[in-house]
């Protein structure tokens, strides 16, 4: 079943994806740091993994924003596209420190 672009569920899907990304990133980082004794200021595999995950999430949300903007008509479609963009900003913004901060200290 394909959800039309102006379906009101799109109002919550974008930030739900952000929430899942947030939980997975924070939870994954915490579990990784508990299981591995990583010290120092080095840029580790968990940084790379989280960056890739963040980039993929942003691409998905961005694609959904464009799709909703193009296909959606009227109020729900436009607002949903805006919320998808908000989710992209939130994902990229919260994920930005992955680039320069070591994971476990």
């Amino acid at each position: 079943m394909k959800l039309p672009a102006d379906h009101p569920l799109h109002l919550v899907i974008g930030l739900t994806i952000w929430s899942v990304w947030f939980i997975a990133a924070y939870g994954g980082l915490s579990v990784f740091c508990s299981a591995n004794a990583v010290g120092g200021n080095e840029f580790t595999t968990i940084n790379i993994g989280l960056l890739v995950f963040t980039a993929l999430t942003c691409v998905l949300l961005g694609a959904l924003a464009v799709w909703c903007w193009r296909r959606g008509r009227g109020f729900p479609g436009r607002v949903s596209a805006g919320i998808y963009i908000a989710a992209v900003i939130a994902t990229a913004g919260v994920g930005a420190p992955i680039i320069y901060l070591p994971p476990c200290i």
Partner: protein
């Protein structure tokens, strides 16, 4: 929680016909977001409270670090609730502001769509901030940075709303009536509180002022500015609907200015005392630390504010006797609640109008008369029933006619029994609490028996819409769906707690032997799955008008449920669980209690439904109740198998025992 469910379902399914989402009053968007936040925000606190009581009263292990628990788990669960709670308080207040400003600016709200976007965004992002209350507990920098950025990001949707309010005021002709005066106070104070909030989101700054008076000042600027001021504005705004009279402008102005000046004198200075190093939660301190005169001025401000609040209370009391008559729509507002007299008649609206605008009273000037004249829907009641309309969630198309329950002692009696449960738990009279909890089911099922398609509840078919008990997606299904969202939030919080203890708690150890084997848990789940599948099939058959063997089928589903409960009970009691010794067993006991509660309730409800099917209250013509219980069965089965995977399979894969 139940209020949250009720608000969500009412807003989505019981709007006036024609009031599509984009025509909905902005206040409803705020309340919808707040109600959904309640559903996801409160369960972690409820779970944490249950765990704390089990640890305190029964010796279970969750938060005691020496025995394998972790006190930080309490902080996580508490703040998972605690920070969204700030926005649960703020959103209705912002809803008051967004409702009141356009009325007194005499123009529609600027950026309605942007504000809806901001509300939804704020509702979500506010759940990603909780660790900013825990910056000093030793969490890795990168994790702190996630929450620091999220805490700053949440200021963006707040800023969108503030600019929309300012733009509305800028482009309108503002009338400075009493409600507007309080909104002015809100704008000044809340912006200051928001700015110090962004400061506190910065980890190094938070470390410096943590647990100081700066935080006290920030909290009061946000909560008093963000909640109390709009609340008083709203009280003044809707007061004519309560009393039919207007408040005194003179007393109201004195009350406002004394409160505004007193508040700022009290709390603005606390920023300085905090920056000078004064810790919070102290009742006295050494002289000569530089805090004396600031605290003296704060105290004077506190008295001034108290006088201001007293003047407001006096104004409220006096207006009942001396206030001038309000008349209809005294503020010339645009929203439907003003389409009645002040105060409104006991039945509120004589008829339900069809809505074609976001500002019905501005765009349909004849509406008040038309409603009173019975020109809308439901103008004539079909008996001594209370009837309302059900509409579709998006476009508010007319869907069904709903009978609202009438007067009954049953809810009060049920509440009294539940009060006995709570008081006995506090007094540690556990057998009495258990007996009262069991007794409460008598009232619950008695109340349920006379609901739905019970003959005492029958309605005459309406010409415009079918009766709700004849439909497949009535309010009950929506109510169950929304309730299960909150239920799932509690369950996921439990799994989070277990995962947290496993991976983070320093003294955590798996129990030396696995008393709940994967095999016994697996075979206990089979009859549960069969019961859920059986109910699902019966509902599907009913959908195709096949109601033969409905009673027998429901009895079989109930029987499978009983078999599952017996098997799970045997598994539980034959195991050697030691929740007072092993935290893993503590989590297992809570999880099994959760599962038994759900599958047990589903089993009893199915037996109950079988009786109703036998009486003809559930049938192909009246299917309303079947899909409600179907999703509950599916949920019960899914949570069981998730518990099986997480609590019995995962530890084995992880090398436990």
């Amino acid at each position: 929680m139940s209020a949250g469910v009720e608000l969500v379902v009412t807003i989505l399914r019981m709007r006036a016909p024609g009031m599509s989402l984009q025509k909905m009053p902005i206040f409803c968007w705020y309340i919808l977001a707040m109600a959904l936040m309640i559903l996801f925000g409160f369960p972690p606190l409820i779970l944490a409270s249950i765990m704390l009581e089990l640890e305190r009263a029964a010796g279970f292990i969750f938060f005691d670090g020496l025995r394998g628990g972790d006190p930080l788990l309490w902080q996580h669960l508490f703040w998972l609730f605690g920070h969204p709670e700030v926005y649960i308080l703020f959103l209705p207040a912002a809803g008051f502001v967004s409702t009141i400003i356009p009325v007194f600016a005499q123009r529609p709200l600027v950026g309605y769509g942007w504000i809806v976007l901001a509300i939804v965004t704020m509702g979500f992002i506010s759940f990603g901030l909780w660790v900013h209350h825990m910056f000093t507990v030793g969490i890795p920098h990168l994790a702190q940075a996630f929450f620091s950025v999220a805490s700053m990001l949440v200021a963006v949707p707040t800023g969108i709303q503030i600019f929309a309010w300012l733009a509305t005021l800028w482009s309108g002709k503002v009338i400075f009536s009493l409600p507007m005066l309080w909104i002015f106070g809100f704008l000044v104070i809340f912006v200051c509180g928001g700015l110090t909030g962004v400061m506190l989101a910065l980890v190094p700054f938070d470390w410096q002022v943590h647990d100081s008076y700066f935080v006290v000042a920030h909290m009061h600027y946000v909560l008093v500015g963000g909640m109390l001021f709009p609340l008083i504005a709203a009280l003044y705004y809707w007061l004519p609907h309560f009393s039919g009279r207007m408040p005194s402008r003179t007393l109201g102005k004195w009350g406002f200015w004394l409160t505004f000046i007193g508040f700022n004198a009290t709390f603005f200075l606390m920023h300085l005392t905090g920056l000078l190093g004064m810790p919070r939660r102290v009742y006295t301190y050494e002289a000569g630390l530089g805090w004396d005169w600031l605290n003296l001025l704060s105290s004077v401000g506190g008295f001034v504010m108290a006088v201001g609040i007293a003047v407001i209370i006096l104004d409220f009391l006096l207006h009942f006797r001396f206030g001038t008559s309000a008349g209809a729509n005294p503020w010339k507002a645009d929203t439907l609640e003003w389409a009645t007299t002040t105060p409104p008649p006991p039945y509120n609206f004589a008829s339900i109008p069809r809505i074609s605008s976001r500002h019905p009273l501005w765009d349909q000037p004849d509406l008040e008369r038309a409603i009173a004249a019975g020109e809308g829907l439901l103008a004539r009641n079909s008996g001594d029933h209370r009837e309302v309309l059900g509409t579709s969630a998006t476009e508010a198309d007319l869907r069904e006619l709903i009978r609202v329950p009438g007067n009954s002692w049953l809810p009060l009696q049920l509440a009294a029994v539940l009060a006995v449960v709570c008081i006995c738990l506090l007094l540690r009279a556990y057998p009495v609490a258990l007996a009262a909890a069991a007794a409460s089911f008598i009232w619950i099922f008695r109340w349920t028996w006379i609901s739905g398609a019970h003959p005492s509840n029958a309605l005459q078919p309406a010409s415009a819409a079918p009766i709700s008990t004849h439909t497949w997606s009535g309010l009950g299904l929506w109510g169950m769906g929304v309730t299960l969202l909150a239920d799932a939030a509690l369950y996921l919080s439990l799994l989070f707690g277990w995962c947290y203890l496993w991976t983070v708690a320093p003294e955590w150890q798996f129990a030396p032997t696995s008393s709940l084997t994967t095999q016994t848990m697996f075979w206990s789940g089979v009859p549960l799955t069969l019961a859920a599948a059986c109910h699902w099939l019966l509902t599907r058959r009913l959908r195709h008008n096949k109601s033969q063997q409905l009673y027998a089928g429901l009895v079989i589903a109930c029987g499978c449920g009983i078999l599952h409960l017996l098997a799970l009970g045997w598994t539980f009691f034959s195991g050697d669980l030691a929740p007072r010794t092993h935290p893993h067993h503590s989590v297992l006991v809570v999880a099994i209690a959760y599962l038994v509660l759900h599958s047990g309730l589903a089993t009893i409800a199915t037996g109950f439904q079988a009786l109703r099917a036998k009486r003809g209250y559930v049938s192909a013509a009246q299917p309303y109740e079947m899909p409600v219980l179907r999703i509950f069965w599916i949920y019960s089965a899914l949570t069981y198998w998730l518990a099986y995977a997480c609590l019995t399979l995962a530890p084995q894969l992880g090398g436990a025992a």
